[in-house]
């Protein structure tokens, strides 16, 4: 009996400090994740909400109009500066203005301030001084705004008609030209209709009075949209927000990635991912079947399995290097010298493109598909296989009629995980075929319809490029947030689907039977 030790023994109360620090680690990680998602959502979606425009009168009498962006404490520590987005880059030379809060005399929200979206110079903010129709008639005052709105609607409809005419009538006719007399006359008639439409769209301009007194004359064909944010009700703002989100998803980038949308990047990403999954699924499933069903389960197979698993951890840039060296320079160069000699020295397949990018990413995600399919195959109890064989099936029949259907959810999980990974990988694409701004999408109406040698745009690369290689990063930031939010949402949805599938699998078949 050790009396001394029992006297000194102090039973610990509670769990101790360590347990709380561990709990704190979990909380900190969750907080970081939530903060990141919240930042992306607020800044990304908030960009499309039409914010009110302020008219600021400074102490020295100057006026400026703009949207308030943020406030930053001054470096010297005495006061706060506020950033306004004033637009009017062609008038002021810059679309931002920093204003010391202490120098502000009055701030108001006049309801007649107009925000214009223009084709070439971005936003313009000011009061609508006058609207001149194509006929030369000049309208001023409140009627100018209604006239402007109706004319913009008309222009929108005319633009749609012109685009439809071009795509559905003129281009096919021009492609068919070459010896057909009727096509020639139809083409001339179509061109005539096009000229009529363009004449109907021409003319008209509006005079904008900027806050500092200058006036800006904007031809109507430069105007993409006009709104009066201070006069909008909440319902109007909601509609404008929805329209902004839709335009973001359906238009291409404009004005050096500071305006417009990301449709070509969405299209490029989806196309590449689809091509990649077509390439990776058969080969991944084949390799998994070989490893699990056909190969002799000895030491070599175990080593190969470990090697395949480790390849999932190899950095993606190494796959990019492999793709560049073997696919682009090696195979692409050979293809060029065999089939596209007339186009040399400008490379067709000897440079990055859709095909090489899909192949590289297929190689990158192959281990993911192999591991997931193998997990599914290992879950199938051996009794099923033995039962099929006992009833007289050959091994091929056992595979195709018993094993593969049961492993189908696992294969699907693997493909979904592969797609989720490929959608987010940017590093290998930088080497094998993504473009900052692709002039054409890889799918169009000319034979062979799918152009595998063209470069494409990618959501992830778009984020990198817009954030780092843009001229005015400040102006591009909201769109980068929105693109990042879109990418994260897509990947989260894909991963959630894979997680549900895997959960469904594990409850269906139970523990792994073979390792």
């Amino acid at each position: 009996m050790r009396e001394a030790s029992t006297r000194r023994l102090r039973l610990p109360r509670g769990e101790g400090a360590g347990a709380w620090l561990c709990a704190g680690s979990v909380a900190l990680s969750l907080l970081a994740l939530l903060a990141l998602l919240a930042l992306l959502t607020v800044r990304g979606l908030g960009h499309f909400w039409p914010s009110p425009v302020e008219l600021v009168v400074l102490e020295d009498g100057r006026q400026l109009a703009g949207e308030r962006v943020r406030e930053v404490p001054l470096a010297q520590g005495d006061g706060v500066e506020r950033l306004y987005r004033t637009g009017n880059r062609d008038l002021d030379g810059d679309r931002w203005a920093w204003v010391r809060v202490s120098a502000i005399d009055a701030v108001s929200h006049p309801a007649d301030l107009v925000v214009l979206e223009r084709r070439r110079w971005g936003q313009a903010i000011g009061r609508l001084a006058a609207f001149e129709a194509a006929s030369g008639e000049r309208i001023e005052g409140e009627a100018a705004w209604t006239a402007l709105e109706s004319r913009l609607d008309e222009l929108g409809a005319l633009r749609d008609a012109r685009d439809r005419l071009r795509e559905e009538v003129i281009l096919p006719l021009a492609a068919r030209r070459g010896g057909e007399g009727s096509a020639e006359s139809e083409l001339t008639a179509a061109h005539g209709r096009l000229r009529e439409l363009q004449a109907a769209m021409a003319g008209g301009r509006l005079i904008l009075a900027a806050a500092d007194g200058d006036s800006l004359s904007v031809p109507l064909e430069q105007v993409l949209g006009a709104r009066r944010p201070n006069a909008m009700s909440t319902l109007d703002r909601l509609a404008a927000w929805g329209e902004g989100v839709w335009r973001f998803l359906s238009e291409g980038p404009r004005a050096a990635n500071t305006a417009g949308g990301v449709w070509p990047a969405i299209f490029g990403t989806v196309l590449m991912v689809m091509l990649m999954s077509i390439l990776v699924t058969p080969f991944g499933v084949l390799a998994a079947i070989y490893l699990n069903e056909v190969a002799h389960q000895g030491r070599l197979t175990r080593l190969v399995r470990i090697a395949v698993r480790n390849l999932a951890g190899v950095p993606s840039i190494v796959y990019g290097v492999f793709g560049l060296g073997v696919f682009v320079y090696g195979i692409g160069g050979r293809l060029d010298s065999w089939f596209f000699e007339s186009a040399l020295p400008s490379p067709t397949f000897g440079t990055g493109g859709l095909l090489w990018a899909s192949l590289t990413l297929a190689l990158l995600t192959l281990p993911v598909v192999i591991v997931a399919t193998e997990e599914g195959l290992a879950r199938i109890p051996d009794q099923q296989r033995e039962g099929a064989l006992a009833l007289g099936a050959t091994r091929l029949e056992m595979l195709t009629r018993v094993v593969l259907p049961m492993a189908a959810p696992a294969m699907l999980t693997g493909v979904i995980l592969a797609v989720a990974r490929a959608a987010g990988e940017v590093a290998p694409l930088m080497l094998v075929g993504v473009a900052k701004l692709a002039p054409q999408v890889p799918v169009d109406g000319d034979f062979p319809f799918l152009h595998l040698e063209r470069k494409f745009m990618h959501l992830g690369y778009h984020i990198f490029d817009a954030a780092f290689h843009g001229g005015d990063v400040q102006a591009a930031m909201p769109l980068v947030y929105a693109t990042a939010l879109l990418l994260v949402l897509v990947i989260l949805v894909l991963n959630l689907t894979a997680i549900f599938l895997r959960h469904h699998l594990s409850t269906r078949h139970g523990a792994l039977t073979r390792r």
Binding site: L286, V294, I491
Partner: protein
Amino acid sequence: MLDSPPPTAVRRRLRQGRDRLATALITAGGIGVIAALLAIGIFLAVEVVPLFWPSGGSSAISPEALWGGGEGAGEAADEASRHRWAPTASLTPGEAPRISLAPLAWGTLEAAAWALAIAVPLALGAAAHSSLFMSRRLRSRLKPTLELMEALPGVVVGFVAGLVLAPWVERHLAEVFACLVLLVPGLLLAGGLRSRLSARWREALPLGWAGLWLVPWLVLVLAASVWLAPWLEALAFDGDLRRFLELHLGLDIAVRNALIVGAAMGFAVMPSIYALAEDALSGVPASLAEGAQALGATRWQTLWKVVLPAASPGIFSAVMIGAGRAVGETMIVLMASGNAALMTLNPLDGLRSLAATIAIELPEAGPGGVHYQLLLLAALALFVFTFLVNTLAELVRTRLRRRYQRLGGGS
């Protein structure tokens, strides 16, 4: 009974023939796919060979040039110009090309070290809490959430780190310092305050769910740190942390530096380490932990003295896999590190990693040139490193599994 006629000899031979053909095709396909995967290493090795054993007229590159590099003709170059990576810089005649991979390797290791310094405590703490203290229901929801965290693309994390976090940290150094200093006391305060609450409150805020209800508490603690920061700065650093760092420690502060990269990569790598560490900790046979608790140990003592040592190989392999991922991460380093090839110990300076260099410079390097081969050498180094680290980790885990079976007696 039979609803189809018995198979004739011809039909049987056809089926068997198809089976054999299919097996041959599957074998060929499987081996082909696996060979294609392994060809990556072979390709890199083959392309790098001409660097050291050139076939044409060019001279071989000595390994000293790759590590020391940049020696002037005949003169002893000073330390600053020795380790320089500038393969495309124009050279005066007689000057050796500056192709030292040392600053890039240093940058890679520095970024990975800071990432692990942040990720490992977080991940191990989270894994310990999750396997031993957390309620089962919360744990089943937490694991997929942290898996989703792993799926976040590096571009997005790098963008937020480089363009949002870095400028904010540079402007608010004192607040960041205050948050770091007050974080641990704040957590301990939570435990202390909770033990003083009434029994009903203590039941409502159990340790098993602490991972969730500590989140709002953490927000409070961080807000309080930000509010207290000016006072703390005046107390400890004579009112200006930045000047203090520059004057007394000689630290130059770059906006995008190693600490930002470490924090961002730590955030990205933490879920992988967490998943593997948690598997290792949960895989320890229950009899060990229960035996310790039956002898009077608290859960924390069990964890520290029994479970952790038993699972240490698994944790080691988890950290190694995390290191492999940290070394290979490209986009985060590319966007948040400033891409300056420096070799300093200052964590507030920029860095440049091997992977980022490859991503930036390879498209412009002409195939077959020395620059191209050097970048391929860097890629080979990355490949070999991560492959070895992952293989080692996998072997350690296999041994751990066998050890658990021996310890637990098959429980």
